[in-house]
């Protein structure tokens, strides 16, 4: 055991708080090391000073004064005070550290619960839109590599139903494609496809009941939902109608798709502004 270890153990050694083996080792070291023995002596002396640290004698008058004051306080606390007296105490009580922490925790929990509620309710709304398309389970046009939808020609086999991401992507690509095809005057105007607020409206014309939901971009509050449930005489029965509102209010994409039972009929696909 070297001096450094002994110096670490000395404070406990002088108080006899070291267990047997280590205490013996320190004792053996102190017999051979003068410096550590001097340190041990200083520790003993300072401990002795500490043990002699007695308060000055307090006379009975001081004690009696304390007791009197205690009884006075007890009497004051037991007597119900007026609101003016109790209110500051109550307010002070609220600012005690424990209550302060408890209040902060409750507020945090409430904030977490509220944010969770809002996030989950928004998520549910988005899920509804996605669920509408598989419900219709219509064969839909596939997106080509260039981004424009491909319309199946007569005699072609119906396409597999949309998946969520495909549907959304297709809708966005349609916006770009329509600008290219029909609205050359608006070609130069960027549509901002990525940030385009999409409003997808699906209406089952057979039932005349809208099967609709809103898909709105979280970042854009301009998104609006429209329900188009009116029967269209030009559109054949059992056709799914899907309207997509782009961020340009002048461009709305309307997409008709036949119901799954009419697999042999070709899809109708039209664009409107």
């Amino acid at each position: 055991m070297n001096c450094r270890h002994v110096q670490e153990l000395l404070p406990l050694y002088v108080g006899r708080e070291l267990e047997g083996t280590r205490a013996q080792m320190v004792t053996a070291h102190l017999q051979s090391c003068v410096e550590c023995a001097g340190s041990a002596h200083e520790y003993r002396e300072s401990r002795l000073l500490l043990q002699q640290f007695a308060p000055p004698p307090f006379n009975e008058e001081i004690y009696a004064g304390i007791r009197r004051q205690v009884w006075r306080e007890i009497a004051a606390r037991e007597t119900p005070g007026s609101i003016a007296e109790t209110l500051p105490n109550f307010v002070a009580c609220l600012f005690r550290p424990r209550l302060r922490w408890a209040a902060a925790s409750v507020l945090m929990l409430a904030a977490c619960a509220l944010s969770f509620y809002f996030i989950s309710s928004r998520g549910a709304a988005r899920r509804e839109v996605v669920d509408v398309q598989p419900e219709a389970s219509s064969p839909t046009p596939e997106t080509t590599a260039s981004g424009s939808p491909s319309i199946p020609g007569p005699g072609e086999e119906p396409r597999p139903p949309f998946k969520r991401t495909d549907a959304m992507k297709s809708a966005r690509m349609t916006i770009a494609g329509s600008a290219d095809d029909t609205h050359s005057s608006r070609q130069k105007k960027p549509l901002g496809v990525a940030a385009a607020p999409l409003t997808a409206v699906a209406a089952n014309t057979r039932d005349q009941r809208p099967v609709t939901a809103e898909a709105s971009s979280e970042r854009n509050n301009r998104a609006e939902s429209d329900v188009v449930a009116a029967p269209n005489p030009d559109v054949p029965e059992k056709t799914l109608r899907l309207e997509i509102q782009t961020n340009d209010p002048n461009i709305r994409i309307i997409w008709f798709s036949p119901q799954p039972e009419k697999k042999d009929s070709p899809n109708n696909f039209s664009k409107g502004t």
């Binding site: 404070p11 406990l12 002088v14 108080g15 708080e17 200083e42 520790y43 002396e45 300072s46 401990r47 000073l49 500490l50 043990q51 002699q52 640290f53 007695a54 308060p55 000055p56 307090f58 001081i62 004690y63 004064g65 304390i66 007791r67 004051q69 205690v70 009884w71 306080e73 007890i74």
Partner: protein, 227 residues
């Protein structure tokens, strides 16, 4: 609680039918504890006289402890008063199987901590040993032999008081309970609601700091200089 012992017959009174009955206390400590627990029971039941007796019984310990923790009489008085108010308030919750004075020490330490936080003047009172007010403390009338002892004691008291004032609350509480009140480490740990290892570490750290603080005084004392 007491046994009846019969003293042996006086040698010269063998034919006298006389015996002296002496009543000896078997265990004074047990008796004291029993009377204390009765006092606590009565005080907890709302007996003001019992609570008054309880205060009288424990006032010296409480006052000494608060003075050692806070270092000033006025603070010690305020703290003692608050301790007794808390004892009055929470005596109903006191478990009779527990040691009353350990419980009292816990309350006292809590009160001292709260008061020290409120006043925040312990660290401000610390003055370096190398100069300033210490020069006044150590420059005493060395020629007055009769006053020397008292003066030396006051010096030591001031020294330790300042050394304790430099310690953090937990270290101060540990060292006061262990070295001044003389409680075993386990008991200190129980009072401080901590582990024995932690308390040992706090005690070790406190002793190192106090030794460092007292080193100048001790070295002068060793050299036999007048302080």
């Amino acid at each position: 609680m007491s046994s009846r012992n019969f003293a042996p017959m006086p040698s010269g009174a063998s034919n006298i039918d006389l015996a002296v009955e002496i009543q000896l206390p078997v265990n004074a400590l047990t008796q004291t504890q029993t009377s204390l627990s009765r006092l606590i029971e009565r005080a907890a039941a709302g007996d003001p006289a019992a609570f008054e007796q309880l205060m009288i019984h424990s006032q010296q310990r409480v006052m000494a402890m608060t003075w050692r923790m806070l270092g000033q009489e006025a603070d010690a008085r305020d703290a003692s008063q608050e301790v007794f108010l808390r004892v009055y308030k929470y005596l109903g919750r006191f478990n009779q199987e527990q040691d009353f004075f350990a419980w009292l020490y816990t309350i006292t330490l809590n009160v001292c901590r709260d008061l020290a936080k409120k006043r925040q003047h312990h660290s401000d009172r610390f003055i370096s040993l190398t100069g300033g007010a210490d020069a006044e403390v150590f420059a005493g009338p060395a020629d007055q032999d009769d006053a020397e002892d008292a003066f030396l004691r006051s010096q030591q008291r001031a020294l330790i008081s300042r050394a304790l004032a430099t310690l953090p609350h937990k270290e101060r509480a540990s060292i006061v309970l262990r070295d001044i009140e003389g409680l075993p480490t386990d008991e200190v740990a129980r009072i401080m609601k901590s582990s024995a290892t932690t308390v040992r570490s706090q005690i070790s750290s406190a002793r190192k700091k106090i030794r460092t603080h007292c080193q100048l005084y001790l070295s002068r004392k060793a050299r036999g200089q007048s302080l």
